[in-house]
């Protein structure tokens, strides 16, 4: 079965490490292979998604905060 957000999830997985370095805890809006923007609030990202793409699938994901490396 076709996953409606497959491309967006791949894009997010590729870009999350670099986003996490500076934008951790924020919400990213992804459509196809593009990052559309980063937002403070989840609903702001959703609102922008509907404004740009209408009632079409898009991905809003919270960017995980980068974990600091532990030193022995």
């Amino acid at each position: 079965m076709h996953h409606p957000l497959e491309t967006e999830l791949q894009t997010f997985a590729q870009l999350e490490p670099q986003l996490a370095a500076t934008r951790g805890g924020l919400y990213v809006l992804v459509k196809d292979r593009d990052v559309i923007g980063v937002f403070q609030k989840q609903y702001d990202a959703i609102e922008e998604g509907y404004r740009r793409f209408g009632n079409e699938p898009f991905l809003v994901k919270k960017i995980t905060t980068a974990r600091r490396k532990k030193f022995a």
């Binding site: 409606p4 959703i46 998604g49 209408g54 009632n55």
Partner: protein, 140 residues
């Protein structure tokens, strides 16, 4: 602060139940209007408030009936699957007394509970439960 109060003698046996409606968000409504698509009217639904749930969950049939497309994904732990992949949808809750909330909730195939209100929604609210009076109120 907009609020509503429910008095129900079955609060203890059935839980904190709210009979209300679910519909599309203002952002979805605007997008549908731009596309010349008829905005689906809100649907009657039974909400159950669950302070033990971290996320709010709605039965998939409601998002299908509202014609919504996913705006996110997540994995949830269930009794039968420790990591079930689900889609998130933007949705608006119409509670009594013109109290509304809109945001992203998880849709699941189950149908025993139509909509569970978890702590993601309650994080924006004040919930007061007076057990010995069988009533509760929710303020946003």
């Amino acid at each position: 602060m907009p609020s509503f109060t429910i008095a129900n003698e079955k609060c203890q046996s059935r839980g904190l139940i709210v009979l209300a409606q679910v519909g599309v968000t203002q952002a979805t409504e605007a997008a549908l209007q731009r596309e010349g698509v008829i905005v689906p009217p809100p649907l009657p639904i039974e909400f159950k408030i669950d302070t033990g749930a971290d996320r709010s969950v709605i039965t998939e049939t409601y998002v299908q009936r509202l014609g919504l497309k996913p705006c996110g994904t997540c994995n949830i732990a269930t009794a039968s699957d420790p990591s079930m992949a689900c889609f998130e949808y933007a949705i608006r809750f119409y509670f009594p007394n013109n109290v509304t909330w809109q945001g992203a909730v998880i849709a699941t195939p189950g149908n025993q509970i139509q909509c569970l209100i978890g702590r993601d929604v309650l994080a924006h609210a004040v919930l007061v439960y007076i057990g010995y009076h069988n009533l509760f109120s929710l303020s946003f």
